[in-house]
């Protein structure tokens, strides 16, 4: 089940499948989850959850020195008829309901934001147009909290776009009522200087379907935690991720799928391409199948394509199984190089070098994008990839 191939030097692709009585996913964190930033010690960098992250580039989000200020973050929400949007206090029961912050930066965001934004799709409302949330920074520092709530049997697509420059710590909660269907596309298309951290918690109701698409191109440092827990049996969660990490960028995606309810499914596919000196991608895929989660079916996959020397990937799938009564569980991680031999082969067929590289990257991502199953999202992503390829030195 685990595979590791062609690992470029300076990269790790390690995997484990542990059959454990007690989860280590929780115990290897330096502090238990909490809403209060004071419950987390300031990280020094050697903690399991921080060891891949360049703390100095977090601009003080991790040690309390970052303060909200500078030009306001512009948040523009456009939603079809029937959707409500409100600003609420931390005390609102919907805020934080999908999951507690698991690290100090997420807790910092939770402890610091002023108002949380709540977007609600009433029960049985089926949207034909996406809800769009445009987040644009102009150099300021901000803390935020967003809740997307779908009532029972509601269906929606949400597209969240991040552009410009900012230091942003913001968590997002997705609350799916029974039988609801939510697809979320979060695009991190920041300027090269931005810092963005966030914990994305999904709480998936009975028989509900959650699909997360995370696309990270920009920023100096992006560190996200897409997570899911199931509120009842029969839920389904799919996580698709795509990152294109260039010179000097740090892109870190830390997934956690918590199977506690029975008969739920999860599928994780993350793919990244890296190029340039000190491009660094981190992928952590933690899947926990608790003793109560009989009938679970889960698979997670991370693939990386290293286009040039000097880039580094750390890919760590981790599957913990506390019950044998499951449908399936597997993981795979592979980091491959686009090497001189591939380049030679394509060029020997008349294809110029730059086009050869683009061909490889485009194909690599297309495989993933085609699985998303939403034609307009797929089209938009492919043209985004095209634009990114045009702009990059690939």
């Amino acid at each position: 089940m685990a595979e590791a191939q062609n690992i470029p030097s300076g990269s790790t692709t390690t995997g484990s499948i542990a059959v454990a009585a007690e989860s280590t996913v929780a115990t290897r964190m330096s502090a238990p989850p909490s809403y209060d930033v004071a419950d987390f010690p300031v990280p020094h960098g050697r903690e399991e959850e921080w060891r891949f992250t360049p703390l100095a580039r977090l601009k003080g989000l991790h040690d309390g020195s970052a303060a909200a200020g500078g030009p306001d973050l512009k948040i523009d929400i456009s939603a079809p008829e029937g959707v409500t949007h409100e600003l609420v206090d931390r005390a609102d029961p919907r805020v934080g309901k999908a999951g507690k912050p698991v690290d100090r930066v997420a807790a910092q965001a939770y402890s610091t934001f002023e108002k949380a934004s709540v977007v609600t799709v009433p029960k049985e409302t089926v949207l034909t147009e996406p809800i769009r949330i445009a987040v644009h920074g102009e150099g300021g520092t901000a803390f935020g909290h967003q809740v997307i709530e779908l009532g029972a049997f509601a269906e929606a697509v949400v597209v969240i776009d991040h552009t410009g420059d900012a230091v942003l710590a913001a968590n997002v909660d997705y609350l799916l009522g029974d039988g609801a269907k939510l697809t979320v596309v979060s695009v991190q298309d920041w300027d090269k200087t931005a810092v963005h951290t966030g914990q994305h918690n999904a709480l998936v109701g009975r028989d509900a379907t959650f699909k997360s698409v995370v696309v990270t191109f920009g920023g100096d440092l992006v560190r996200l935690h897409p997570r899911v827990t199931y509120a009842g049996p029969g839920g389904e969660a799919e996580f698709y991720g795509l990152y294109f990490t260039e010179q000097g960028q740090h892109h870190e995606h830390r997934l956690f799928v918590d199977h506690e309810a029975a008969n739920c499914r999860s599928n994780v596919v993350y793919k990244g391409a890296l190029q340039g000196e000190d491009a660094h991608a981190v992928w952590i895929g933690d899947v926990l199948i608790q003793a109560s989660a009989t009938g679970t079916d889960t698979y997670e996959l991370n693939r990386n394509l290293v286009l040039t020397d000097g880039a580094r990937v750390d890919s760590v799938p981790n599957l913990e199984i506390e019950t044998g009564e499951i449908v399936g569980a597997g993981h795979a991680s592979a980091t491959g190089r686009f090497d001189d031999e591939q380049l030679f082969y394509l060029m020997a067929r008349g294809i110029p070098a730059d086009e050869a590289r683009r061909l490889v990257v485009r194909g690599f991502f297309a495989e993933l994008v085609q699985q998303i199953g939403l034609p307009d999202v797929e089209e938009r992503l492919m043209s985004k990839i095209e634009a990114e390829l045009e702009a990059s030195s690939v």
Partner: protein
């Protein structure tokens, strides 16, 4: 009529203890419509010759000339050589993750022909070529050489030969590792291209077996980095009977 002229070609590779000369003065002329078999023992430098002609960066040309219709091939980049009409079917084709065969073939044909082939005609052209090589249509959706068997890799190389229609085709041990059925299929593919009269073929092989299917105009024995003897098809019969010993004795072959 396209002519590839190799004159006094010397090629080195970077070895642990400095540069090592592999090709020690190769002279050969291949004209469109001709088929030259190059036969030699393992390590005699056959692949080095093939890669050097295609422009692989591992090989350093230290002397001599290669021209295609008078144009200096050695000055050209790898892709320029391909577009000028030089095709290399590789002994060990390379896996390219994320790139489907169909996408690869079309991109390549577009580069070689200078314009994108009309989609409908192209689909038909590829489909028919694949049928002739007994390749399953699902093949087109797989990633280039990824998980291909040895025989599939070689069919895929010859598929490209048929689609790209080069002026000079260098086939590096296309026959190695094929069973008799695959060998016949692949040879028929090569012969279809040869019969157009539009290609000059450099058929590199270790064994005489493929020469039952592909009849060369000339046979060259390759030993110790140069052509040791040239002759007609009858030279292959002599090699079949006597092996390479006469050529390797005293010569340094790895």
């Amino acid at each position: 009529m396209a002519t590839l002229e190799i004159h006094d070609l010397h090629v080195s590779v970077e070895a642990e203890n400095g540069p090592r000369e592999i090709l020690k003065g190769v002279d050969l002329t291949v004209k469109q419509g001709e088929t030259h078999a190059i036969m030699g023992p393992n390590g005699s430098g056959k692949s080095t010759l093939a890669y050097s002609l295609a422009g692989h960066p591992k090989y350093t040309i230290t002397g001599g000339t290669v021209t295609l219709d008078g144009e200096d091939v050695l000055e050209m980049s790898v892709d320029e050589r391909a577009r000028a009409g030089v095709f290399l079917a590789m002994q060990y084709p390379v896996e390219v993750p994320g790139v489907s065969v169909s996408n690869f073939l079309r991109t390549s044909a577009t580069a070689i022909r200078g314009e994108a082939p009309k989609l409908r005609l192209w689909v038909k052209e590829v489909k028919e070529a694949m049928e002739r090589l007994q390749m399953d249509p699902s093949f087109a959706e797989r990633n280039v050489n990824e998980g291909f068997s040895g025989g599939e890799k070689k069919r895929h190389e010859i598929l490209q030969l048929e689609l790209l229609k080069p002026a000079i085709a260098i086939l590096d041990e296309t026959d190695s590792g094929l069973d008799v059925d695959a060998l016949r299929t692949v040879s028929e593919g090569v012969n279809r291209v040869r019969e157009t009269g539009q290609v000059g073929t450099l058929l590199i092989t270790h064994y005489t077996r493929i020469l039952r299917y592909i009849k060369p105009d000339q046979v060259h024995v390759f030993a110790n980095g140069r052509i040791a003897e040239s002759g007609g098809a009858e030279l292959a019969d002599k090699l079949e009977a006597e092996g390479y010993e006469a050529y390797t004795k005293g010569g340094a072959t790895a």
